[in-house]
């Protein structure tokens, strides 16, 4: 009985030691290599994707250059964010100042900065005759620069002459050249 117990304990000890050694060998020797492999593979795939995209870009180069040369004046950067916002609000002001509307608030929203361009946003609240409000919309939509009304909300009061309107207007400009 004691001998059987001893033998069982020996087997258990050997199994335990083997498992511990296996775990240590895996953690110290194999796992770092596996991790490295995972990282290498991810890096390689990223590079492959980048290369494919770049090759695609190169194929489209002439066409894109051609289109870009046409729109370049529209998106051209005029300086810092502050300068761009100033220019944008001035452009808007030019549009509504000719009309018989009362601007309540002009709120400058944070600039969304993408990799190669910036999106400027301004929220304007105004009131006036329905014809004047519609004129403002029309003037924005026909403005040559890339200005766009993203959202608007028009509320009619009791009288047609006094319409409350709020607009979210955006503009896209290129990132300044470094």
């Amino acid at each position: 009985m004691t001998s059987a117990k001893k033998s069982r304990e020996k087997v258990l000890a050997i199994i335990t030691i083997s498992v511990i050694l296996g775990a240590v060998a895996f953690t110290v020797i194999i796992e770092p290599q596996l991790k490295e492999r995972k990282a290498h593979l991810a890096h390689m795939r990223q590079l492959q994707l980048k290369l494919t995209k770049m090759k695609g870009d190169l194929l489209l180069k002439d066409r894109i250059d051609d289109i870009y040369s046409q729109i370049e004046p529209l998106i051209a950067s005029n300086g810092t964010d502050q300068q761009e916002i100033s220019l944008f609000t001035r452009e808007l002001s030019d549009l509504y100042s000719k009309l018989n509307v009362r601007t309540k608030t002009i709120k400058i929203l944070p600039i969304i900065s993408e990799e190669f361009y910036r999106r400027l946003s301004v929220k304007i609240e105004m009131s006036g005759h329905v014809r004047e409000i519609l004129n403002f919309i029309l003037s924005v939509e026909t403005y040559p620069n890339p200005i766009k009304i993203e959202q608007f909300d028009i509320k009619v009061r009791e009288i047609v002459d006094n319409i409350q309107a709020s607009f979210l207007v955006t503009k896209v400009v290129a990132q300044p050249e470094t």
Partner: protein, 470 residues
């Protein structure tokens, strides 16, 4: 060219009286006996790796051992082996830790087992093993030489299953032994050195007759006699024996000069000049016993040796397992390292392809993204004007719009209208009214509620419309 060597698991070693060392080993399945002039010469051969043996077997002379028959209530020799330890004190007047013992089966009777116990003093054994130890040989099997001789006769099929008395006669000595049903029963060694052939023959015949007398009466008539050894001596013994008892003449067979061919270590046959020696037979029989694990309980190996061998084997296995595991881990690591190196190399190749086009491609990408942004910004221009135009044209006069919300989305735009109508049906008819419109055809009334007012009621409704991009 690589010199031919003997590489084997088992080999037996027997020492001749003239100091020759006879090594018997199996090479490619055939036993080969090699004679060395001395143990020192054997040591040189081992050192030069001409002989590589894992386990050695040696024999101890009959004269050093005490043979005692014992009857035990055991079913097999393994069980008997455990019982013998307790019986030893009654067999020899020596402490158990000062002796070594082995056992062989004599016969079985009912539930009893008759065994022959071979006892040897540990000090005698150590003395006997001293020359082997001196050249670094630690035997794994130590057997009584009589058992080895019988094993050789059994192998060469010169002994049948009937009772037999075997006399192996050499120049200096003679071994006479009895076996019944193939089991060893008794043996005696006679020293013949310095005697003439007649006197020697007489003594041998006396011993044969003595051993025959000790056999049970029933077996006496069927006992066969086998005389092997130097030709002249064997025929002299046969003649003398037949003179003593004429009835046995047809049961006496002779094996004159039973010879085992000697080889050199290189495998060439060696001319031994018709020299006969018991040692080669002993070594060949010993090898047969050891290599085929016959009579395992006859091993006289001391406990300390057995323990040491076991520990060595265990250590070797641990080392082997450890080494294999290490190699396995190393291989796994190497495979992964190789794969990583390959991936890294591919990455470097891609990087080298990227480098020359990176700047140009990046410039193209920046332009592409700006173009996309501008295209999105300029897309659907005039859509709001068109929506307001359609609202003006298709909204019935009975409906007045109080609120209009417009939200532009990447996929299109959505508008939400709040208005009033005089009747509930008028509000729901709004969808029919704008069905012909281009942009507002999908308008849905999502909520309509009739609210009482002084002098009547008014229906307030809410409509929703999704406008898809072109």
């Amino acid at each position: 060219m690589k010199p031919t060597t003997i590489k084997t698991e088992w080999a037996s070693l027997s020492l001749a009286e003239d100091g020759n060392a006879i090594v018997c080993a199996k090479c490619n399945g055939t036993p080969r006996c090699v004679r060395f002039d001395s143990l020192e010469q054997l040591k040189q051969a081992i050192d030069k790796k001409k002989i590589s043996v894992k386990k050695w077997a040696v024999a101890v002379p009959r004269s050093s051992c005490i043979l005692k028959p014992l009857t035990l209530p055991a079913s097999d020799l393994a069980e008997a082996g455990k019982m013998i330890e307790f019986e030893l004190s009654s067999l020899v007047p020596l402490p158990v830790d000062e002796i070594v013992y082995g056992s062989t089966l004599l016969n079985e009777q009912d539930n009893m087992l008759n065994v022959l116990v071979c006892i040897l003093k540990l000090s005698t054994l150590n003395e006997h093993l001293k020359p082997y130890k001196a050249i670094g040989i630690e035997p794994h099997r130590i057997t009584l030489n009589s058992l080895a001789i019988q094993s050789w006769f059994n192998t060469t099929s010169t002994v049948a299953s009937e009772p037999a008395i075997i006399a192996l006669v050499s120049e200096h000595s003679c071994t006479v032994q009895t076996c019944i049903n193939g089991n060893f029963h008794k043996a005696n060694e006679l020293t013949l050195a310095g005697r003439d052939i007649t006197a020697s023959s007489h003594e041998i015949v006396q011993e044969i007759l003595h051993q025959r007398e000790e056999l049970p009466t029933l077996l006496k008539k069927t006992t066969v006699f086998l005389l092997a050894g130097a030709e002249q001596c064997v025929s002299e013994v046969k003649n003398l024996f037949c003179l003593h008892d004429r009835t046995v003449a047809n049961r006496v067979s002779t094996v004159p000069n039973p010879r085992i061919l000697y080889h050199t270590v290189d495998g060439k046959s060696e001319n031994d000049g018709d020299k006969f020696g018991c040692e080669a037979i002993e070594a060949a029989g010993l090898l047969e016993l050891a290599a085929n694990s016959r009579l395992p309980y006859s091993n006289l190996l001391p406990q300390q040796y057995a323990k040491r061998h076991k520990q060595k084997a265990l250590l070797f296995r641990y080392l082997l397992t450890g080494s294999l595991s290490f190699v396995l881990v190393l291989l796994a690591w190497s495979c992964l390292a190789a794969m990583n190196w390959r991936t890294e190399r591919i990455s470097r190749t891609i990087e080298s392809q990227i480098a020359p086009i990176e700047q140009t491609a990046s410039a193209v990408d920046s332009k592409r993204q700006r173009v996309k942004a501008i295209q999105r910004q300029l897309s659907n221009r005039g859509q709001i004007t068109a929506v307001i135009d359609e609202l003006y044209r298709y909204t019935p006069k009975a409906i007045s719009i109080s609120e209009l919300k417009f939200v532009s989305k990447p996929s299109g735009a959505s508008i939400e209208i709040k208005g009033q109508a005089d009747l509930l049906s008028t509000a729901f008819d709004y969808t029919d009214a704008v069905s012909k419109a281009e942009l507002l055809s999908g308008i849905q009334i999502v909520n309509a509620q009739q609210i009482p007012r002084p002098g009547g009621s008014v229906v307030v409704f809410k409509a929703y419309c999704d406008i898809q991009n072109d």
